[in-house]
């Protein structure tokens, strides 16, 4: 029994207006001709032009992309393993500590994670840089991946895995042929989540960075501390569009995968 009342309609409208109006303003004013960000002076794309000719920004974007791709790939491998251990490995010594270490970084303030990783890695490496940011990002992102993947592992039918083992698969073959295809959408969205978290992170990267490894959020940070700037609005618009397209594509992929899986399961039942 679902009732949709005026109250619900109002709270949804106001809620989504609150969530979206700031971003819409940002996007609209990135096309503003004036340097003054809050005064409209006609349509222009000049800030995008300036952004694309800003070599420092482009360098930072390249560093950020490298860090995000490598760290989210490591995070996905480790996070999927961790999820499998949490959901399937049963009891083992130190399981509570393991679970705690997976869930604690999700809520730990960035400043603490950043400081502690800095103090660990400073003596480890002669110089900090892209590699130390990658290790730091992989660490906190793997926890997010494992939460996403374990929620998929919990919900799927274990008898499929048991059947594979009965039919003579080794545990590894079972994982590759049965488990992985089923959890693949969750693994992909885990990777995407890890990727955007890395793309986004300012605080942890500031602590673990070194010479020559300036990421985009660090560039944005030093620019916006001086106030609102149209160039940053343009950059924000680009980033928002990438995320929007990414999220919509990802959700379409998961939806299609879910439908296909449902159809296959139904076909299997009939057979």
């Amino acid at each position: 029994m679902r009732r949709f009342s005026w109250f619900n309609a109002t709270s949804l409208t106001l809620g989504f207006a609150f969530l979206y109006i700031p971003m819409i303003i940002l996007v609209v004013y990135s096309f503003n001709a004036s340097k003054l960000v809050t005064v409209w002076a006609g349509f222009s794309t000049k800030w995008y032009g300036e952004l694309l000719s800003n070599d420092q920004m482009l360098d930072a974007a390249w560093v950020t992309l490298q860090v995000a791709v490598i760290s989210s790939t490591i995070a996905t491998v480790l996070g999927t393993m961790a999820a499998y251990v949490l959901v399937r490995a049963g009891r083992f010594r130190g399981r509570t500590l393991f679970g705690g270490m997976i869930y604690a970084p999700l809520v730990m303030p960035d400043v603490i994670l950043g400081l502690s990783l800095f103090l660990l890695m400073k003596p480890m490496f002669s110089q900090m840089g892209v590699h130390s940011i990658v290790l730091a990002h992989a660490t906190f992102a793997m926890c997010y991946v494992s939460v996403v993947v374990s929620s998929r592992l919990v919900s799927f039918d274990r008898s499929l895995e048991e059947a594979a083992l009965d039919l003579g698969c080794t545990p590894f073959e079972m994982f590759r042929l049965v488990t992985l295809p089923i959890i693949a959408p969750a693994v992909i969205s885990g990777w995407l989540l890890a990727f955007t978290l890395s793309l986004d992170d300012l605080v942890i990267a500031s602590f673990t960075t070194g010479p020559g490894a300036t990421t985009l959020p660090m560039k944005i940070w030093s620019a916006v501390r001086l106030g609102v700037s149209p160039e940053i609005n343009a950059l924000s618009t680009i980033l928002i569009s990438i995320v929007t397209v990414g999220v919509i594509t990802a959700s379409l992929i998961t939806k299609r995968a879910a439908i296909r899986q449902m159809a296959e399961e139904r076909a299997a039942e009939r057979a």
Partner: protein, 296 residues
């Protein structure tokens, strides 16, 4: 053997990159600032002898923690962080609940879209979302322009660089974390319970208060922790929106580290922040554990 590797690899990774760093933070919080590389004493160097170890432990003390209690700045920063985190969690709950409720009541074919609309801001850069409020809240910003245009105020209000801006920033950025757990609790709710309550003579409001509200408690608890814990150590929001008068402990830690380069004091601040957070984190994990067991 395979099982061992499967467990050991993520386990050792987290031990090395998550647990050991905390031990190091704790150790350095007991050290003294020094004009050297690394900028603290004592340090251990190879070969580690028994004598060296004894000397090392003898040099550790709680001086940094006593320093934190003598300087007003740290007390005030902890208290004002707590206050800001508590109040903004309550506001986020009040704003988030009706949205989650509206989503759960929406028609089935709308729900994936509504869900995506909540998740999308969560994927968008945190920094950019905080930044977007700078242009809205400033003296000549859109909010003041709008309020003056409607005639509510005649002089622009000072909102940016006050605690109010920090509240707005926290509620805005953490709202999806509140909506999603409440929504998932409400979505699972069995509609026949509400029908039964109404058949037994409850008004719609009473049915909500006696049935829906208690059954969504776990979601509200999870959402509140997801807002409260990170908000307590928040750095970006008070730095961009709060101005110099808004004290928050995350900002103090950051400045202690980057501006004063005082690693030992920064570590001591982190240790105390961690001590404050341990109870909420444990409660949060308990709540999650209970939810997972209920789901399985």
């Amino acid at each position: 053997m395979r099982r061992f590797i499967l467990i050991a690899l993520p386990y050792l990774w987290l031990l090395l990159f998550f647990l050991i760093p905390f031990v190091i933070v704790f150790k350095i919080s007991l050290s003294d600032l020094a004009l050297a590389i690394p900028p603290y004493t004592p340090t251990l160097s190879w070969p580690i002898t028994w004598e060296a170890l004894k000397e090392f432990f003898a040099a550790l003390d709680f001086e940094n923690f006593t320093f934190l209690t003598t300087d007003d700045l740290y007390w005030k920063a902890y208290l004002s962080s707590l206050q800001i985190a508590v109040i903004s969690t309550i506001i986020t709950l009040l704003v988030g609940y009706p949205i989650a409720y509206g989503m759960a009541q929406a028609r089935d074919e709308w729900r994936p879209t509504l869900m995506m609309l909540v998740i999308l801001p969560f994927w968008t850069s945190f920094l950019i979302r905080v930044y977007s409020w700078m242009g809205i809240l400033s003296q000549e910003g859109f909010l003041n322009q709008f309020l003056m245009w409607t005639g509510v105020i005649s002089e622009p209000l000072q909102i940016l660089n006050t605690p109010v801006a920090v509240y707005i920033g926290i509620v805005y950025t953490y709202l999806p974390f509140m909506i999603l757990p409440i929504y998932s609790a409400l979505e699972k709710l069995d509609g026949s319970l509400l029908e039964a309550a109404e058949d037994l003579g409850c008004s719609r409001f009473k049915a909500f208060w006696l049935v829906t509200f208690p059954l969504s408690r776990a979601g509200m608890v999870a959402g509140s922790f997801l807002v409260f814990i990170p908000a307590l150590g928040e750095f970006v929001i008070p730095s961009l929106l709060g101005g110099s008068e808004t004290l928050m402990i995350g900002k103090v830690l950051y400045e202690e580290f980057f501006n004063n380069r005082d690693w030992p004091v920064a570590s001591a601040v982190a240790v105390i922040l961690l001590l404050i957070l341990i109870l909420p984190i444990i409660l949060f994990e308990r709540n999650e554990q209970k939810q997972r067991e209920a789901d399985q």
